[in-house]
């Protein structure tokens, strides 16, 4: 009986086996298919499409009459785009710098075996759970030239205090830096704290045994080990800066005038409210280029590091 079983099995197994086997082989790929389609169209297809649009004279509706680099030429001669880019430089650099300094500083302090560390960490991080629109609304109120901080200081007796950055075209971009740093610095703190916790305590003990002082240990051993954390923080912050849109929208709507415009604001208003689709597309391609200018060298060094390590 056992024999006949084996025979019938070998006879039927290959055909049926091959079919289920092939299905098993295809199932994983089949499972990825929806995402693959979405990514192919939604990320790469649309990116390409926008690229195409940026070479057309599209206005309110897409048109496919090609105008070469005309939109880019318009873009670079546009004073408002120049302001937006200059603002992005100021905003981006200050935002990244302040977040790194504050985040790193707080992380080091929190790493000193602090009681209630969990509670403190939670407080530093909660702004990240808020929408940029909420953040913008709140800071718009706090920095309100007549009723906000200024009035508070007057009430406290500092009557000459004047704070009108929100309506001052030269200073308005710094108000956005303040709000953005308030929101995102806790994030850098979390990254650095995780990095600090990842350092082998034996190394620090060894340095202690060698007689190094605590500040020296941090400067010479701990902070150099934070290099990867530093770079990934910069990447994430720069990414936030380039994409920044909601915060400006909520705090100043780009005003006064277009003094606090950022590229993302520029893109939105030219594309969707002023009906200059071609120019908007060109500006978004420039934003992509900025991001790639940061991302490509970063990924390159990451990958090279991995290969060497």
């Amino acid at each position: 009986m056992a024999h006949s079983g084996v025979v019938s099995e070998t006879a039927s197994q290959p055909a049926r086996g091959r079919l289920t086997q092939r299905l098993q082989q295809w199932l994983p790929k089949l499972a990825l298919a929806p995402t693959a389609a979405m990514a192919l169209v939604g990320i790469y297809g649309f990116m390409f499409w926008t690229g195409v649009l940026s070479f057309t004279g599209s206005t309110f509706l897409p048109s496919y009459e090609f105008v070469g680099f005309e939109q880019y030429a318009h873009l670079f001669s546009n004073a408002r785009w120049a302001t937006a880019c200059a603002n992005l430089a100021i905003f981006g650099l200050l935002f990244i710098f302040c977040c790194l300094v504050i985040g790193c500083f707080l992380a080091i302090l929190l790493d000193q075996r602090i009681r209630n560390e969990g509670v403190i960490r939670t407080i530093y991080l909660y702004p990240l759970a808020l929408s940029m629109i909420v953040t913008g609304t709140v800071w718009q109120w706090i920095l309100n030239p007549s009723l906000g901080l200024e009035k508070l200081m007057h009430d406290w007796g500092w009557t000459s205090f004047k704070f009108d950055w929100l309506t001052n075209p030269d200073m308005v971009i710094y108000t956005i830096v303040i709000a953005a740093v308030w929101q995102a610095s806790g994030f850098v703190m979390a990254l650095f704290l995780a990095g600090l916790r990842g350092i082998d305590p034996a190394i620090i003990n060894a340095a202690r045994v060698d007689g190094a002082s605590l500040p020296r240990i941090y400067l010479r051993i701990v902070l150099p080990a934070m290099r990867p954390v530093f770079f990934s923080s910069v990447m994430v912050l720069a990414h936030i800066a380039i994409k920044s849109f909601d915060l400006v929208m909520a705090m100043t709507s780009g005003g006064p005038g277009y003094a606090s415009d950022l590229p993302a604001m520029f893109m939105y208003s030219f594309t969707f409210t002023r009906g200059q689709m071609g120019l908007g597309a060109a500006s978004s391609i420039m934003m992509l280029a900025m991001l790639l200018a940061l991302l490509v060298p970063y990924l390159y060094s990451e990958l090279r590091g991995q290969r060497n390590g």
Binding site: L27, P28, K29, A31, L32, T35, A36, M38, A39, G42, I43, Y44, F46, M47, W49, T50, P62, I102, L109, Q112, R113, R121, L125, Y126, P127, A129, L130, S131, I133, V134, T135, T137, W139, Q140, W141, I142, L147, L152, F187, A190, L191, S232, V236, H239, K243, F245, D246, M249, A250, A264, Y268, T271, F272, M277, S283, S284, I285, M287, L288, L295
Partner: protein, 289 residues
């Protein structure tokens, strides 16, 4: 010995605690201001200052923000927007998490030639400046008849959220020993059974991370909401922005703050209840992203 040193309150340790506390105050004060302002009356705002408590605690501003404040031409408060956000966020979170789980499973345990390249290509979606896809997406949604609908918003959030959810699940499943999959295969389990019976029951923590991350992202999104939705499908962030920037009439900061609180509450509640998972998502998203 070390612990003995730690317990002594030296001047330098007092300084550390003082600095940390000061930072806590700095982080907390805007929300504190938001809360007390939302309970003030209009007169109270004129007479008091930023951090003075309300003379009388009033829910007027909240009521107005919820149901009668003007958001552009309409004056129905933000309640409609709030429900729109819920209708948008819940399905988008569920679908993107489910897709991320399946993708992560395949990309970690059923890798095939090209699957790593696919993963890298997908990851770029985490870094994409969304401005670059707005126009084609708007055109496509229009063609599909989904422009200005909640369904359209759900699709957009799924498409651009799945890169993150895949990253979360993939990194989580990479940590699950391959021997577990081998054992299950020898036990006779196939692709689906292994996922449903072995991996999913282990995935509760990462599902939490994913839910919370996606919920926060989608709830807080403004760009997609303002571009792809109009009128009766706009999410709360757009509603809040419209309310704050409506130029008709006198500016009512108490109503603005109440509306901001309404917009912030769901994510704040989630953060307070499950902050651990939120932070995990944040750091793991950044380190690998």
């Amino acid at each position: 010995m070390a612990s003995q040193i730690e317990k002594k309150l030296t001047p330098s340790r007092i300084l550390i605690y003082a600095t940390l506390l000061l930072a806590c105050v700095a982080y907390l004060i805007p929300v504190f201001i938001m809360i007390i302002t939302s309970f003030k009356t209009t007169g109270d705002i004129r007479s008091g200052n930023l951090i003075s408590f309300p003379e009388v605690w009033s829910f007027e501003a909240w009521a107005k923000a919820w149901s009668t404040a003007c958001t552009g031409v309409q004056c129905n408060g933000v309640s409609g927007f709030f429900w729109n956000s819920i209708k948008m966020a819940v399905p988008a979170v569920l679908i993107s998490t489910a897709l991320g789980a399946i993708n992560g499973y395949v990309l970690s345990k059923w890798r095939f030639r090209g699957s790593d390249i696919f993963f890298s290509l997908l990851l770029f979606g985490c870094f994409l400046p969304f401005q670059v896809i707005l126009l084609p997406m708007a055109a496509t949604l229009g063609k599909m008849g989904l422009a200005n609908t909640t369904t359209g918003l759900v699709i957009v959030h799924v498409v651009y959220g799945v890169a993150f959810t895949t990253l979360f699940f993939r990194n989580f499943y990479v940590g699950v020993p391959d021997a577990l999959i081998k054992a299950a295969r020898l036990d006779g389990a196939g692709f689906v059974t292994i996922f449903v019976r072995i991996l999913l029951p282990m995935s509760v923590p990462i599902i939490m991370v994913c839910f919370i991350w996606q919920f926060t992202q989608i709830w807080n999104d403004f760009l997609f909401g303002v571009v792809f939705a109009s009128g009766d499908s706009q999410p709360i962030t757009v509603g809040l922005n419209n309310l704050v920037n409506t130029s008709t009439g006198v500016k009512e900061y108490n109503v603005d703050m109440a509306a901001a609180m309404i917009a912030a509450l769901p994510t704040l509640v989630v953060y307070v209840l499950a902050g651990k998972y939120f932070i995990r998502g944040l750091t793991s998203g950044a380190v690998k992203g």
